[in-house]
Amino acid sequence: MSIKLTIMEQMAQVAREQGRTLAPLRDDLALLDSGLDSLGIAVLVARLEDRLGTDPFTSADDVQFPVTVGDFVKAYEHGAR
């Protein structure tokens, strides 16, 4: 499964668990407008670390936490390279 697909699937899963509705996901959508709040995103990052074996935001020193969904996905794709 592609990294992007895994992320989308996990976002849907976390939203479901937290009783939230996910907005239609576009690359330029602000992460905090996706339907997940900061706790939801924190859970998402932890789940993705389990699935993908990396947390690109905690392991690097100077990474800005991404603002948009597109940047979020890119951070993982970049980390995988």
């Binding site: 900061s38 706790l39 924190a42 932890a46 789940r47 389990d50 936490f65």
Partner: protein, 461 residues
């Protein structure tokens, strides 16, 4: 017997009237308690230890047990070194406790202690012509079980340590404990046995749980004590079916309803009690109604000499059993202005009971919201497939920290469902019982969880 000795409160007094069938057992050997009235385990060294500040640093629990009986009332101070104390701290402890002698049982350890007197425990006890005269009220110094830094040393007296013990001699009782008697919880059981004329079965270092249980069974233990983590581990062993204690005691950690119910199911005939005690605070109370937490009435008035109050959510205790002070410079006073010890154990009132929810210092901060790991573990442990769990913080770039859980499952009995299903069920259980920020973000199944030498779940600092 001269009057002065009869009046001196010392363990030797109990030994002098010990029943002939009272023994202390460990894996390798045993000692008849009554024999110590006219014999010594310290070779010719007992007289030289009179009036000294003695470090008790034996490798075996039995050796420590014998030395405690012999030295109480003889040594000025006994500092009991638990086996798991980091060696780098020993120098500081020796200095602070002003130790001028040590009792060891393994010559290889001799070099560790730069002290003028070292008395190795003789392999067998040898007769002495006359019992030594009990002349002092010995200070008992116990180490706290904190996980970081130099352990604190806490001063107790025999009177304080035994304040919660009502002596009714019953040589039919055989005590066992999963604890090490060189910690407060285990020491309580040792003293209960000695004062009550009961035998005691000690654990041995590195002994597998199954073997320990078989040994407890062989000695026919009637009373058995340990932490909830000790008990969960014992319940994972098939040998648990070999023992049939009539009294099951838990202390040292929060006893949640699940472990109480599991023990009730395992020992339908037993009386099951969970006790609250801490190295500094002494014994607070015991709860025998089979329910977690304790009744709110326990905070009213004085119960068995013990007074309790809750300040900022933390339990405070004042009783004859509380320690008097810390040894060593630079320690904050142990007692508050009113003589209460702040236990740092956080409680929460629900209906007519108080429940322990965790340690004051053990809080996980999730974006400003607080979580006690123990309250989440109590929920996870309710799942029928879960044996034990450890909740901890994981760094999060978003909220600073999030809650994650390591879970040990019971061995699969009958048709086992897939682990992903169990994971979802546990999360569902948590979501139903806890606010969102307390629900673990991830759950990992692990084969086992580390239990520290204190018997408590090992939590990383």
């Amino acid at each position: 017997m001269n009057m002065a000795r009869a009046e001196a409160p010392s363990l030797r007094r109990y030994v002098e009237r010990a029943p002939a069938e009272q023994f202390l057992f460990d894996r390798a050997s045993h000692t008849r308690v009554a024999d110590l009235a006219r014999a010594t385990s310290l070779g010719g060294g007992l007289a030289a230890l009179a009036g000294r500040s003695v470090l008790l640093a034996t490798s075996s629990q039995l050796a420590s047990a014998l030395a405690l009986i012999e030295l109480d009332g003889i040594a000025r101070r006994i500092t009991i070194l638990p086996p798991d104390v980091d060696r780098v701290h020993v120098g500081a402890l020796l200095t602070d406790a002003e130790c001028d002698a040590a009792v060891i049982d393994d010559a290889r350890n001799a070099a560790s202690f730069d002290l003028p007197i070292r008395i190795a425990r003789a392999p067998n006890i040898v007769s002495i012509e006359q019992a030594p005269t009990v002349s002092v009220r010995t200070e008992w110094v116990l180490l706290t079980s904190g996980t970081t830094g130099v352990p604190k040393m806490v001063v107790h007296s025999l009177a304080g340590l035994t304040a919660a013990i009502s002596v009714s001699t019953d040589s039919q009782v055989v005590w066992g404990t999963f604890y090490d008697i060189r910690r407060y919880g285990g020491l309580q059981i040792f003293l209960r046995a000695v004062l009550g004329g009961a035998s005691l079965v000690l654990s041995s270092a590195g002994e597998p749980v199954a073997e320990h249980l078989l040994r407890l069974a062989r000695h026919g233990i009637t009373h058995l004590s340990g932490t909830p983590s000790h008990w969960r581990r014992a319940l994972m062993s098939p040998e648990i079916s070999k023992i049939s204690p009539r009294y099951v005691r838990l202390s040292g950690e929060i006893a949640d309803q699940t472990i109480l119910d599991s023990l009730r199911a395992a020992f339908p005939q037993a009386s099951i009690g969970h006790a609250y005690a801490a190295t500094e605070a002494g014994v607070g109370f015991a709860v025998n109604d089979g329910a977690a937490g304790f009744p709110v009435e326990y905070l009213e008035g004085i119960r068995d000499g013990v007074e309790m109050k809750v300040v900022d959510g933390s339990l405070r205790v004042r009783s004859p059993g509380t320690a008097s002070r810390y040894v060593g410079a630079g320690r904050a006073p142990l007692l508050d202005a009113d003589g209460f010890v702040d236990t740092g154990d956080m409680v929460e009132r629900r209906g007519d009971r108080y429940f322990f929810i965790g340690r004051k210092g053990g809080i996980i901060n999730i974006g400003g919201l607080k979580v006690h790991p123990e309250e989440v573990e109590a929920v996870i442990n309710q799942h029928p497939r879960v044996r034990m769990s450890l909740v901890r913080a994981k760094r999060s770039p978003v909220t600073g920290a999030i809650v994650i859980a390591d879970v040990v499952l019971k061995s699969a009995a009958g048709p086992s469902r897939g682990e992903p299903d169990v994971k979802d069920e546990i999360l569902e259980l948590c979501r139903g019982a806890l606010p969102r920020h307390k629900v673990p973000a991830t759950i990992s199944f692990v084969p086992a969880l580390a239990v520290a030498a204190t018997g408590k779940l090992a939590r990383r600092g």
